[in-house]
């Protein structure tokens, strides 16, 4: 989409609006609002934003071990000696690893696939970091792979696919439990979730 230059001689504004509009989830109106906000903001704030964007592009890369986003390679988690190297948690996106990390419960390492198998959206297994995962497992240090792909159809397919590849290597493969979300309402739960919740019921302790 191109924006008419309603302000002749204000091409930088149009350029900025167009740049925002290209971002995911940002429509034309939001793009305009963001641009006008930045015009009114202090030069320091604008510079900080510009520098943050540049820093991300210049300094962030993917860890050669876990494929997560990092500034140093290998990443802080992969080089942390206190982490449990025998357990590997496989996630779809870097943000999933972050979410799991917030629990402070998991002490192992991660592997980021950068997506899930979704043939209808043109993502096949070859587009994921699966080869890198198998390579890591051949090192022999890992005893358990926790499949933490999303509990949707694509995530399940990805988990089954990886399970099939990993099982012959003699590594234990587990899957995150699926069931009712905390704060959820039973009456709104779908059959699949309820079935999984029943399957995974546990002794009260």
């Amino acid at each position: 989409m191109t924006f008419p230059s309603f302000f002749p001689g204000a091409t930088p504004v149009v350029r900025l609006i167009e740049a925002f509009h290209r971002l995911p989830g940002i429509g034309p109106k939001t793009a305009q609002r963001l641009a006008y906000y930045l015009i009114r903001t202090s030069p320091e704030e604008a510079r900080a934003l510009a520098e943050a964007i540049l820093a991300v592009k210049e300094r962030i890369r993917f860890c050669s071990i876990c494929q997560n986003m990092t500034e140093a390679d290998p990443c802080a988690l992969c080089s942390d000696a206190s982490r449990d190297r025998s357990t590997l948690c496989v996630v779809e996106e870097p943000l999933d690893a972050l979410a799991l990390e917030r629990t402070r419960y998991f002490r192992g390492l991660y592997h980021v696939l950068h997506g899930a198998i979704s043939p209808l959206n043109n993502v096949g297994p070859e587009d994921l970091k699966v080869a890198e995962l198998l390579e890591r497992l051949r090192g022999g240090q890992v005893r358990e792979v926790v499949l933490a792909t999303n509990p949707n159809l694509e995530g399940e397919a990805t988990a089954m696919y990886i399970h099939r590849l990993v099982a012959p290597l003699g590594v234990r493969v587990t899957r995150l439990a699926r069931g009712l979300p905390t704060g959820g309402d039973l009456e709104y739960a779908d059959e699949v979730t309820l079935t999984r919740a029943l399957e995974g019921r546990q002794e009260m302790r």
Partner: protein
């Protein structure tokens, strides 16, 4: 301000495309309206009330509210879940392929209730089918029939004469078999053996409970599969995306083991 118009419909979810923070664009196939696109807000949050009811290959009753550009899913209730397919990667890949074909062969907002019934029926068979390959071929042929591409397998498309009992060729542009006499000068024709022709007739003319009785060996099933893939590719002018994943699993199965590389 006018109250948004709502409509209740049954639908099979063909596809979900993530959109925005936690929304998803759904491609639905409904009996009354054909293929419909609708937005499901917040559906990717774990606590979403809609989430588990709107997975691809699920069948659900939906309340759709007319939005500015797209309908918005207001309520959803699961009628039949994809649980039966989730247990097996092959079944899932086949289910994806069925949904992909329906998506590829239908324009938006064009009702085709018979095709809807076919999809629902085929997804049901898939949960119990010991022969997914046969089911897929049957589905492909039935779908071609219901979308106006039924291959002509009884008469020559050029001279209209009944076909003799012999190997033939299939003219892709004409969508039917050409007899040896008319073949010369026909561009883009695919060879078709007499047995394969008989299989096509049998699968076209029979409901699945009959069609599934067919027993066939690898060279014949591969010929029919290859032929249909070629015909479908010719009609769509592109590859069917989910077929590649299906083929990968198929080659694993033929080798008998999961390979050491992905």
């Amino acid at each position: 301000m006018t109250r948004p118009k709502t409509s209740k419909t049954e639908a099979v979810i063909l596809r979900q495309v993530p959109s925005g923070e936690a929304d998803a664009l759904l491609v639905l196939f409904t009996p009354e309206r054909g293929k419909v696109r609708a937005m499901a807000r917040g559906v990717r949050r774990p606590s979403s009330k809609l989430g588990g009811h709107l997975e691809p290959l699920d069948r659900a009753t939906l309340l759709l509210a007319q939005g500015q550009n797209l309908d918005v899913v207001a309520q959803a209730h699961l009628l039949h879940s994809n649980l039966g397919l989730r247990g097996s990667l092959e079944a899932l890949a086949c289910g994806w392929y069925l949904a992909d074909l329906v998506d590829a062969f239908t324009p938006d907002e064009a009702p085709n209730p018979a095709l809807y019934d076919l999809l629902v029926e085929a997804l049901g068979w898939l949960e119990e089918s010991p022969q997914p390959a046969l089911l897929l071929r049957w589905f492909e042929l039935q779908l071609l029939g219901l979308t106006g591409y039924r291959p002509e397998v009884y008469h020559c498309v050029a001279c209209r004469q009944p076909l003799a009992s012999q190997d033939h060729a299939f003219s892709l542009p004409d969508g039917g078999v050409v007899c040896p006499g008319c073949r010369s000068g026909k561009e883009a024709s695919a060879p078709l053996s007499l047995t394969a022709l008989k299989v096509l007739r049998y699968l076209l003319d029979n409901a699945y409970p009959e069609a599934r009785r067919l027993r066939w060996e690898a060279p014949l099933s591969q010929e029919v599969e290859g032929f249909l893939a070629q015909y479908i590719r010719y009609i769509l002018e592109r590859e069917v995306r989910s077929a590649a994943f299906l083929h990968r699993l198929d080659s694993w199965r033929r080798q008998g083991v999961a390979p050491a590389t992905p």
